[in-house]
Symmetry: C2
């Protein structure tokens, strides 16, 4: 398809939704992608850009060049434009801002002044606000007569004379009331105004919790400066949920399947390095018992069982704790109850697997080895339950994201306790 | 607060949003929860129920009793009502259905006929559909005059005489056009109609991909039977992203921090059992080399390093592959490219850590052990990259969810290869 017949390819692509073209670009190889972008150079739809993943986006932006990108920025909604330029290098960003029309530039600069991952970055600046004394009829006439309103909106914000949001009217409700009714009388008065500095994770939680379609964003003085809509938040929800998973597996904070070799190596090597530290610590624990292992080699055969069961049980508890902390479902008021439950789970599983594996080892090797294995497994699974809860709770208290580092501490604890308990008990009982 | 002063507590709670009351109920202990529900028995807001997590919800439902629940069902939107009853036992469900008004019962039964996790279960049956020849004015008059319309809607669906959706008009657009304009002339013609049997993961992907606020659901004949709105999908997105994480960690498909001890043990014991199988396989690999370890105990000290580095590197690759498969970002067209990259990452990391750890081992123990450690680490990290991609791809091809089982296969592969390569090479070189 792409080789040769340019007009046909251009026509086929022109019929697609911007999001689909973005998907297509991501799936093509580097060369094909360049050819396809070149083909569309004149009529490149700027809406495609926000749909592209990080690495492919950078390539396409580089290929289009600053002039075309500046043009795209002034055509896009302000939230999409911010999304495109916030990760660029400072000098490229400055050059771009210099090339866009002054009004767009001012808006973009104001948004960039808010911290990354804040409501100020997520919000769209174009919004519709009306005074409370307007009637439904006047509001509809205003909407019909004013050109240049945002394409999509789901509610009208009602503001007081100082431009503070005091209510909101969903469009469905506006349409269902006669023209003479006052906005004041049909508006929702409990507006969830979001401060511009609010973290996006908290924004997502509010949207999800109250099933919001859109919410007003206010500045320090409480004045309405923007609106966040559900579609911005859907991406955040997905990213935040994935972020925890990605961080726990040590693949950075974003899973981009199209990332390049170098950036992937850089992302992952740090985590593997930390893990190597844990592994060396484990080795030094084992080396304390070299003499014991030399006498009873069966210990070397069985010791990975204790460590791996503890690591897996701990990861189960940890996963529950990390997600519950992120969703604010784990709080001081229920932490003790859940900790008790996890220790209970560890005890039960420790008894079940300790008896099963200990019995088998007793038959194959010797009853004392079986007994040691039982005690070590039980101790390690109880430890796993305790550590799987206490480590993320402690990190959270210290304002460290438990998803990033809890896993390392956890395996360190379960490995060390596992090997130490098994080999140490063996030394005591068997020698 | 809760002890004693019932009227005050009732008043305080009455001012809260249903979602906040649900949060409160989840954080209370079992006893306090029962007391608070009892307090509100007469005016219990049915909207609270869908916000509760599985275990707390079951308790509250049991406490309220079937009569109160049947009443709640007929007050809720049909999608929320389905959500509440779909997980109940068959006999309880039947008793409840018998107790609700006939119209509600028929609607619920029709929805329940669609498979679990399908669009048919997610959808809300009350929707607004109009013929294409209506004008904006007639549409607005209809909305104003008809009682009993859904509270919230974001677009009007345009249907043909056979009730097939042929277009949609977002409310914002309806409000911005004069009364005499025909719906036909302002409607979007590329409606993304969703078949009722579509899986909810696919529904979420469509909503996210096209930033939809709502989408029509059609039956086998293509007739409009319901509507899915973004707020239903937000929950699905969150659940699906979390599900992969939960499944990979072996804590079942749903992370419910308030689950009871018995159900948690049941959820986790299966995964630990499977993991025990892997651990026993590893033990049997080690036991092949008992004689070698007896002669060189340093091997027992160093062997966990090879296995754990391989396991962690493999999990990194696996996490990326599982998410990319779930989001349809990993397809036959780019699988080869990404596999090559992962093997490249494994080779680079294998060289980096192999040289570092090998050198240290050469100094502490002996140069031959260092060389063996280098080779084993390199081999295992390359294997990890290969297996981390190929295992989920193969499971996906076999229509098995890679999130559920890929991790077990992966650790089995990296553990066995790691121990085998290290101990086997050591036997060849050192004895």
């Amino acid at each position: 398809l792409d080789e040769g017949d340019a007009p046909t390819a251009r026509m086929l692509v022109a019929e697609l939704h911007a999001a689909d073209i973005a998907d297509l670009l991501e799936r093509l190889s580097g060369e094909e992608r360049r050819a396809l972008v070149e083909l569309q150079r004149d009529g490149f739809d700027p809406e495609i850009l926000p749909h592209l993943g990080g690495n492919v986006r950078d390539q396409v932006i580089a290929q289009l060049g600053p002039r075309a990108l500046a043009e795209a920025l002034s055509e896009l909604d302000s939230d999409d434009a911010i999304y495109l330029i916030e990760d660029l290098d400072d000098d490229i960003q400055a050059a771009l801002l210099a090339a866009v029309p002054p009004a767009t530039r001012r808006a973009l600069e104001e948004s960039l002044a808010y911290p990354e991952y804040s409501a100020g970055r997520l919000m769209q600046r174009d919004l519709i606000a009306m005074p409370a004394f307007w009637t439904v009829g006047r509001a509809i006439d205003f909407l019909r007569e004013t050109p240049d309103l945002p394409e999509e909106f789901y509610e009208i914000f009602v503001v007081d004379p100082r431009h503070k949001p005091i209510g909101s009217v969903p469009l469905a409700r506006m349409l269902r009331h006669p023209r003479k009714v006052l906005l004041r009388d049909i508006m929702d008065r409990d507006v969830d105004a979001i401060a511009a500095a609010t973290d996006q994770e908290e924004v997502a939680r509010l949207f999800r919790h109250y099933s919001l379609a859109s919410a007003p964003v206010v500045d320090d003085q409480g004045r309405l400066i923007g609106v966040i809509t559900f579609d911005d938040v859907v991406d955040v929800i997905q990213e935040e949920a994935e972020e925890d998973m990605a961080l726990m597996a040590g693949v950075g904070s974003e899973v981009d399947v199209n990332a390049g070799l170098v950036s992937v190596v850089r992302q992952r090597i740090a985590w593997l390095g930390v893990n190597l530290g844990t592994a060396l610590m484990v080795s030094s624990v084992i080396s304390l018992f070299e003499a014991t292992i030399e006498q009873i080699v069966a210990l070397a055969v069985l010791m990975p069982i204790v460590a791996s069961m503890g690591g897996n049980a701990g990861t189960q508890t940890l996963t529950v704790a990390v997600r519950a902390l992120a969703l604010k479902e784990l709080t001081p008021s229920n932490a003790m109850r859940i900790l008790t439950r996890e220790v209970g789970v560890g005890t039960i599983n420790g008894l079940v697997f300790g008896i099963a594996v200990g019995a088998v080892a007793a038959v194959i090797f010797d009853p004392f080895i079986g007994g040691v294995l039982f005690c070590a497994l039980l101790a390690n699974l109880v430890t796993a339950g305790l550590a799987g809860m206490l480590i993320p709770l402690a990190l959270d208290r210290l304002k460290v994201d438990p998803a990033v580092s809890a896993g390392v501490f956890l395996t360190a604890v379960t490995d060390v306790v596992g090997f130490f308990a098994f080999l140490g008990l063996a030394q005591l009982v068997l020698l």
